[in-house]
Amino acid sequence: MRLSPDEMIFWQHGFLKLNGTIVFTWGLMFVLAIGSKLITRNLSTELKRSRWQNLLEIVVTGIEKQIEDVGLRHPKRYIGFLGTLFLFVALASLCTVIPGYEPPTGSLSTTAALALCVFVAVPFFGIEEQGLVGYLKSYVEPTIIMMPFNIISELSRTLALAVRLFGNMMSGSMILAILLTITPFIFPIAMSALGLLTGMVQAYIFSILAAVYIAAATRGRKARPERMQDINA
């Protein structure tokens, strides 16, 4: 039984290996990049527009609204990063309906890479918004005693992001493989439908958590009292 698409090797030459994770990741990247390039090639502002443009507009405005709801005030600044995370993870789990495909997010290396992107992006956006000193001040936020705990939480939530996505995706394909040996007719279909739902929820959660972390890093001290007033009012 395969634990991850890492063990699915298509081509090998010396230490160079082309495993399932790399192939499927590049396939998804091509679909996303070329698809959006083709759709945005002839955009129209008229009433009559192509159905693909409608689809893309729904996706983009939906993501923008979700980011804004989390508390980031300028969603356009973050949609490039957060939207890409969401679309990649969502498409990776949606494509499981294709036979022979295994989600690249079912490999710990992919999810660790995505989590590391979030780990780097949080201080990047935080420094961009509040400056280096302002961002570093957020580590000693209540008192200086809390600094080690703040650093630990930064590391542990990165680990949690990676392992959560990996575990969910891996368990989906693992349960399917086990069920195929026990009840190979109807039941695996129900479980794969559940897997599609879990995949979408996990994509949503991954990007929302990244947005929450970025929002916590960009929200300076000055913004906090006015939020409290919003709640009290």
């Binding site: 039984m1 634990l3 709801d69 949690a160 575990g167 891996m170 368990s171 929820v201 958590l209 929450v212």
Partner: protein, 93 residues
Amino acid sequence: MDNMTLIATASIVTAGLTIALGSIGPALGEGRAVATALSSLAQQPDAATTITRTLFVGLAMIESVAIYCFVVSMILIFANPFWNHVIAQTAGK
């Protein structure tokens, strides 16, 4: 019992115990979270979007504990480092 049997027995039993005990807490927690979210949805249907989003994020946080247990038990069964070590030693002999 030789070393290999001991390692195999310990790994299998521990894998089962890990997922069995580790899913109790998250199950109770998720049940409580969903029950509270449902009652607050019934009281304030206007806040449905906020409650649902917070619920989903919270559920993912709670569920990740169970997922960690699952990953640990899968490592014990399919990618056991001690087992691999013993196998490498026997093969090297």
